[in-house]
Amino acid sequence: MTGIIQIVLSPLIAFVVGVLFLGLARKIIARVHRRYGPPIYQPVIDVVRMMSQRSISHGALFELGVVLALAGSLVTVMLIPLGGTEAFQPFAHSVLCPLSSSGGLLVVMYLMLFGPLGLALGAGASANPNASIGVSRKMLLALAYEVPFLLVILAVMSQYGSISLTEIVARQQQASWGVLSVPLSAVAAFLILPAMLGIRPFDLVTAPQEIASGPLAEYGGTCLALITVQKAIHLFVVIALFVDLFLGGGVNLATFLVKMLAVFLAVEMINAVLPRVKIEDAIKFCWKWPTALAFVQMTITVLSK
């Protein structure tokens, strides 16, 4: 029974928190730019409005791509522990992670591919060259940030000797957080967070002024609403993963969300002030500092074991 509640609950939390984060992002950027900004629930209004608008479709794959992307993101959420602890503590509940014994971190990494792949397929089904350029950039950017990200993940998995995310979180709660035991990996992961989220300075995939929002160029109405939801859930997944890997998860949902908010605010500050870079420079950046830091940390971790 608790299993079913968890399966319903964890995507729902991801949806609500993710959408609110999207609204918060607009508000933060507006304030940094000395504007007032839209209300924090603006994305909710947008999604509801878009659901009611009639748009165009370029065929079955055009729509199914979006469905695949969103479904993949929803399943990813179920594999990520959203706070909770195995040991008894006051104000704590058991681990909120419905699919905790279904393959662990390795499955999370692969499930995170469904989002980009689904959008790429959908965008490819339209004949818009802008969409193809955007997809090409997305693939390159993914390769760029995955190289340091894989090193980071491997360093964490070696440090805690496990491929299970719940176990990694439990070990951190017993001893010290990941940010202290694998500090360089944490720095590297933070440096590539904007690239993983597709925000400035790495928002070149959906650059509106250059390639008409890239893969999203042809989308409108219901499909665009679902893509917005996918974006929100992806945002949630990436930041939740960062909290689980380096900030020790949370003993309950509330502390987990507070930690997520802290990470999110830090990333949005970068988003608010930096301009967009070219894809070549994005690859060079990702393969230089984050990769070097993550590599050094992995070497240290392996040697100290």
Binding site: M50, E63, G103, L121, A127, N128, P129, L150, L151
Partner: protein, 621 residues
């Protein structure tokens, strides 16, 4: 069913098809399909019939040796895998090869390659093994050079490298016979247990060169891209799907059936351990070919480089010698067979309908015209990447988990980077063939014929079946591992059951299906979109010309410019350089033979003079 009956059917089928080709084309096609399907049936029927009843000595006294056949779990597993992929390719050939010349020869060679491979896995001694190995190698050579022209060069490159491997294998076999006086595989296992580690290493090296050439491990891989781009597509499926993996069978046989697990793990000292070095070769075989594949524009060359790269995962899994790793390696072998065969067949179908085009820069938008081929391509690339729900995911998960829990994150990193490089190049394959704008000249392309759709859909089914219920093949693999003395894994029908490191594909499958259904429902709740033609797309007010704006050439240009200087195939260049120099040496040698009797007399006299001088100077005799 005895192994003899399987082999007789295989060879008789090859012969009969050749004869039938002289009589009538329909009879030939019918016989080819019948005999390849009959083999699948025969092998499936012989499942579980292992033991002394199925060991047959078919030549009792060949120069004092027995030539024997036998059936055991390892042999059965590889036999069924060979037979199924070959049967699918023969069915696919029916329309693909229609109207080409020398078809009787083609079909009979396809069946002969099949018979040779079945012979290899059913051999009970190394002499039969060698004979069937050569039958396979030479019929492969004939099939690669089937199309003549540049194919002859590719075939020559293949056969020269293959012969080098065969020579190495022969040296190994002769040495085994000289040492132990027997070539029976079962007896060799006991005999070799007492020999020195230096000798075991020598045997492994000699055999390893032969298997490495077939397996296309770096740096013995250079024949493969050329062979693939010249071979016909159904044969490419067999070549990359199973034939290359005979090297894997060889490695498993020699490393774990003969030499044995304990000896393998203690071979060498510290860092220079045999299985450790083999793992690093595997890791390099993953990374470099995968990124070379990224630069290819020929669909089949791209897949051929991936065929090399994926082999690295099998080596990585197998070399580690843990239950999980070896199971992953063997499982990855058949998984790779299913999706690479599928992808070659899809490329073949596109080639067939577009008049032989497989240049990725000249295709596009075929999804509307060839939906089944598109679906096959999508499933195939998902398998190749190893997305969850496909079989490739489960075997890669096994291999990654082995690498991480055994404490080799650097090897794991190379395996991961290989996978993420794969995503880029296979998406390019899918996008440039099927997505984007449909060029004007392909407006009339029709969908693939039914005899092509059946094998494509069959492989799609297998990929998903083994992806969601990996227990089916893993039980058979468990049987193989029992005979090799590995600790049993805690298998279930849907993956692996062991606490925190468990894998449950059925759960993931249910979660994805339910999430898919929920999202689909959400989409139905929203306003229904209006269907518009593909060309009706947004271009900031100006119109997009139809059929001209397909972004495919230099799809990953920023990355190409960064990585291409580092990714020249220097090994291939080195071999060409060596061949060139060798030719120079041969030319010099040829000059010695002038053809004049006087010169030869001069040689003899000077040789005698040398002998006399040696005797006078040092008094050797």
């Amino acid at each position: 069913m005895s192994p003899q009956a399987i082999l007789i059917t295989a060879f008789a089928g090859a012969g009969l098809v050749f004869l039938a080709g002289k009589v009538h084309s329909h009879l030939r096609d019918f016989l080819a399909v019948l005999s390849s399907l009959a083999l699948v049936g025969l092998i499936a029927w012989s499942h579980g019939q292992y033991g002394p009843d199925n060991e047959i000595v078919y030549v009792p006294d060949f120069l004092g040796m027995e030539l024997a056949l036998r059936l055991n779990p390892l042999a059965w597993f590889f036999a069924i895998y060979i037979a199924i992929i070959n049967a699918a390719s023969v069915v696919f050939s029916l329309s693909y090869m229609k109207g080409k010349e020398k078809l009787g020869f083609y079909y009979s060679m396809m069946l002969l390659v099949n018979a040779g491979m079945l012979g290899i896995v059913l051999s009970g001694d190394f002499l039969s093994f060698y004979i069937f190995w050569e039958i396979m190698s030479w019929s492969t050579y004939l099939l690669i050079s089937y199309r003549r022209g540049p194919a002859l060069h590719a075939g020559m490159k293949y056969i020269i490298m293959s012969l080098v491997g065969s020579c190495a294998m022969l040296v190994g076999i002769l040495s085994l016979y000289a040492q132990f006086g027997t070539l029976q595989i079962a007896e060799l296992g006991e005999a070799i247990a007492g020999s020195s580690s230096g000798y075991v290493l020598f045997i492994l090296m000699a055999m390893g060169i032969a298997f490495g050439v077939k397996f296309a491990i770096l740096p013995l891989h250079t024949w493969m891209p050329d062979a693939h781009s010249e071979a016909v597509s159904p044969f490419s499926a067999v070549l990359s799907g199973v034939l290359v993996r005979m090297g894997m069978y060889g490695f498993l046989l020699v490393m774990y059936s003969i030499v044995g697990l304990k000896t393998i793990l203690n071979l060498g000292a510290g860092f220079f351990n045999f299985h450790y070095i083999l793992s690093w070769l595997g890791a390099i075989t993953i990374v470099i070919p995968t990124f070379i594949a990224l630069l290819q524009n020929d669909a089949k060359k791209l897949l051929a480089w991936h065929g090399i790269g994926q082999g690295g995962y099998m080596i990585l899994g197998m070399a580690f010698g843990t239950s999980l790793g070896v199971a992953g390696g063997i499982f990855h072998t058949i998984n790779h067979g299913s999706y690479i065969a599928l992808l070659f067949l899809v490329v073949g179908a596109v080639e067939y309908r577009t008049g032989g085009v497989r240049d990725l820069n000249r295709l596009g938008g075929l999804i509307q015209r060839m939906p089944v081929a598109f679906f096959g391509c999508l499933v195939g690339i998902m398998g190749l990447i190893g997305m969850p729900l496909t079989n490739g995911f489960v075997s890669k998960w096994f291999i990654y988990k082995t690498l991480i829990t055994e404490g080799h994150p650097f090897l794991a990193f190379m395996a991961f980077v290989g996978t993420w490089g794969t995503i880029l190049s296979v998406y390019k394959l899918l996008h440039n063939m099927f997505l984007g704008q449909l060029p004007e000249k392909y407006k009339e392309v029709r969908k693939a014929p039914i005899s092509m759709q059946i094998p494509i859909l069959f492989f799609c089914f297998v990929i998903f079946l083994f992806g969601v219920l990996p227990g089916i093949p893993l039980r058979a693999i468990q049987g193989i591992q029992d005979t090799m003395g590995f600790a049993p894994l805690q298998l279930t029908m849907w993956g692996l059951a062991s606490g925190a490191g468990a894998l449950n594909m059925l759960n993931i499958c249910f979660a994805i299906v339910i999430a898919f259904a929920v999202v689909l429902l959400l989409m139905r709740l929203g306003a229904k979109p209006r269907r518009v033609p593909q060309e009706d797309s947004y271009a900031a007010g100006s119109s997009v010309p139809a059929g001209k704006y397909h972004h495919s050439v230099e799809f990953y240009n920023p990355l190409y410019q960064m990585i291409s200087p580092y990714l020249k195939d220097r090994v291939d260049q080195f071999y060409y350089w060596a061949a060139d120099k060798a030719q120079g040496v041969f030319e010099l040698t040829r000059r010695i033979y002038t053809g004049y009797a006087g010169t030869y007399v001069l040689y003899i006299i000077s040789f005698l003079a040398l002998l006399i001088f040696l005797q006078l100077a040092w008094e050797i005799w």
